[in-house]
């Protein structure tokens, strides 16, 4: 099987990797590039644990082929903090104890950031529907929703 060479911008950096034709972007990120922050919870687009942003659009990386990343920009959880400065969403997830096991957390953070990028002042209902593609089995979502609302507020205040 011949591998395909892919050149993409990942978290702002020009990156190239080899992958097989049927290999998902999720597998390429995890197995080829060591970016294991995105998780495989289902592999079928139902859990959101593998969420990444591809050219500004939130996608399930388990439903995208690695080869499709050619020439495009990919943002993953690993690129969310600026150096040692956490993104407000990351900080609020910690402050609100919005994670128990934490396996869903990278997906939620990436999805929540995409949500707030589009809608900086979501209502509780908008947050709930905006994150309905992400499954969490531990928290019952209460603290996650609160953390996202709080992060939105602090981002609006420019804090």
């Amino acid at each position: 099987m011949t591998a395909i060479a892919v050149a993409a911008t990942i978290n702002g950096e020009a990156t190239s990797f080899l992958c097989e034709a049927e290999e998902t972007l999720l597998d390429a990120l995890r197995d080829r590039l060591g970016l294991t922050g995105a998780k495989e919870g289902c592999g079928t687009g139902d859990c959101g644990a593998c969420s990444v942003v591809l050219d500004g659009r939130l996608v399930c990386s388990c439903l995208v082929l690695g080869a499709e990343a050619e020439g495009r920009e990919v943002e993953t959880i690993e690129g969310m903090a600026l150096g040692d400065h956490l993104h407000p969403l990351q900080q609020k997830f910690l402050d609100h104890a919005a994670l128990q096991c934490g396996v869903c957390t990278p997906g939620f953070l990436v999805a929540a950031k995409a949500l707030l990028d589009q809608n900086p002042s979501p209502t509780e209902e908008e947050v709930r529907f905006g994150l309905a593609g992400n499954l969490c089995r531990c928290t019952g979502y209460d603290k996650i929703v609160r953390a996202v609302m709080d992060a939105a507020e602090s981002m609006r205040d420019g804090r």
Binding site: M1, E20, E22, D27, R30, D31, G34, L35, T36, G37, A38, K39, E40, G41, C42, G43, T44, D46, C47, A49, T76, I77, E78, M80, A81, L86, Q90, F93, L94, H96, A97, L99, Q100, C101, G102, V103, C104, T105, P106, L109, E124, E125, V127, R128, F129, L131, A132, G133, N134, L135, C136, R137, C138, T139, G140, Y141, D142, K143, I144, V145
Partner: protein, 755 residues
Amino acid sequence: MTNSETGLKERQFKIVGTRPLRPDGIDKVTGRARFGADMAAPGMLVGKILRSPHAHARIRSIDATKALVLPGVKAVVTHEDFAEVGADLQDVLENVMAQDKALYDGHAVAAVAAISAGVARKALRLIEVDYEILPHVTDVEAAMAAEAPVLHDDIVTSGVEPAPKTPSNVVHRHEFGHGDVAEGLAQADVVIEHDFKTAATHQGYIEPHACVGSVGPDGQGELWCCTQGHFWVRNTCAALLGMDVSHLRVTASEIGGGFGGKTTVFIDPVALALSRKAGRPVKIVMSREEVFRASGPTSSTAMTVKIGVRRDGRITAGEAVLKFQGGAFAGSPVDLGAMTAFACYDLEHVKTVAYDVVTNRPKQAAYRAPGAPMAAFAVESVIDELASKIGMDPIELRLKNAVENGSQSSYGPKFGPVGLVETLVAAREHEHYTAPLGANQGRGIASGFWFNFGGQTCVSLNINADGSVALAVGTPDIGGSRASMGQMAAEELGIGYDKVRTIVADTASLGYNDISEGSRVTFSTGLATIQAARDAIGKLCGRAAQTWGISPDAVVWEDGYARPAGANAGEFPPLSLAEIAETAAKTGGPIAGHCEVNAAGAGVSFATHLVDAEVDPETGRAKILRYTVVQDAGKAIHPSYVEGQYQGGAVQGVGWALNEEYIYGEDGRLQNPSFLDYRIPVASDLPMIDTVIVEVPNPGHPYGVRGVGETSIVPPLAAIANAVSAAAGVRLTELPMSPPRVLRGIDEAAANGKA
């Protein structure tokens, strides 16, 4: 109840009860935390498992010749590659790899290790298994019928007289209780009896099982895996592979949820067996489909409950017959269901009968308070109906019968200080209880009980020369427990929380620790942490005494300082932990505290849940509008994580009550092994989940801690059923209360002229 009544001395806590950030937090919000599937080893192969497509089949032969010649395939294993094990592990082994029969759709029959996932998948298709298909049964009551296909020739029902002579799917019949139910029922003014059914549900952790196993040519093995109990995994894998326990070191990865489902082994022994054969590390990661088909769901059940009550609200007798199928092997949690069914009530006459049944389904694994939620669903539904029959407020009825300190439990022993009454009173006083309801809306309430466990625990607490502390525990952290342990250590030592770093140590670094199950971690590991801290304090005081040249008895530890006990002891400026640590090398070497204990005294806990639901009479769809959890935590070490346990349990209950269900086809195959078709609650299905933490201290723990992780899933099935039944105007007795089922209930009630 005050602390002094329970024998705990009043104590002002500095760190316990606050909400510090967790030590693993940053790693988990930045993607750095390494879960089961995030490990890689040099030269690692990919392992994949071939699974039976048949619900029940004899395996005549397995031929891997073609797979083995495929380039890139390094090893194939079947049951022949595992050791002989004792009776206690026989079922575990047979579930890991089928022997002469495949017992359910998804049962592992062989496995391969290859250089890539693609090659491994291809190799699986080349393994030829000759199956003789047998008749199957997946329903609990059908499996109990005389003509049902029998799974195991060696299961003969125990607990019935005269002892049967022929094999059956009924493993046992057990009876629990006391008094004379017939006599009790005769005293009742109202008696209600109903049949109930619940579907099997899956723990639904978001992280599929994953591991990397490596066995070298010298027979030394290493395993990295996501588990609730790596010490148990080590012992079990060693037995299944015929290795010395000390030749296998297991490291627990971060774990992406377990809820009981990661208290056993599925893939770990397979990865090790493949690695031993291939001579290279092997990684196995289950797909979600495999998780559904072959890892532990809970039991599906059929239950009958009969309760009698007098007009004054006193329950005169309770009786339940519980039938739980636990999949292809003995051991459904039916006994626990039977023991907990009436545990909330102080009854003179109570009897529960438990049938453990095997069927052609995956072997059930523990799921949060195993057995209790289903039993509570049945009992609390009948209690609810009795309350409305005699025109009494449902909380009032429960309060009239609630167990308290000294009551005899339905499962035998007398209770010590317990908090059921406190949760009921708090629920009644909660503003939620009297808030107005609209059309097609109903309010439900239910209480629930869980034992909570202690168990074998070993921790080690090392004082570093700079005064910081490394705490090594052996219980995987499934919900933030490292934070709570750090709090307890800091509290006891009198130092800052940020001075303590808690890690989960591997199996070579500590003595045996039981699995993180039974809500035991904050209780047992917390108890051991406190004792290890006290052990270290004794040594710190000893060093101070030496430094001052006084007797160790003349030194006390207060707020992080060693001080002379009194004026007679001498006048010395107090020495801080950091000061003593700094000179440790000169005063006798490293200072560490240890504790090895088989913790007993885990306090039982109770919860009461309040829920409002709305039913759409057109579609039958039920929606949860409001939810309040009231639960006794004994003492909440980190209230945020206690709330999180309450909320998570309630929401898993919402899924169980309304949507989640294992659906088997006529062919005995699981029809919905994906998150698309097995629908767990998402954010948009739910309201906020309010919590009230009641604290009735557990006298068995130095700080009063009770386990909190499991009780929260006991009341929701019943509370939601009571709410949905009230909203729909008809008693619903079958879970999940999916739209078609609710609609059928409404239609039938209308046809009967009730609605």
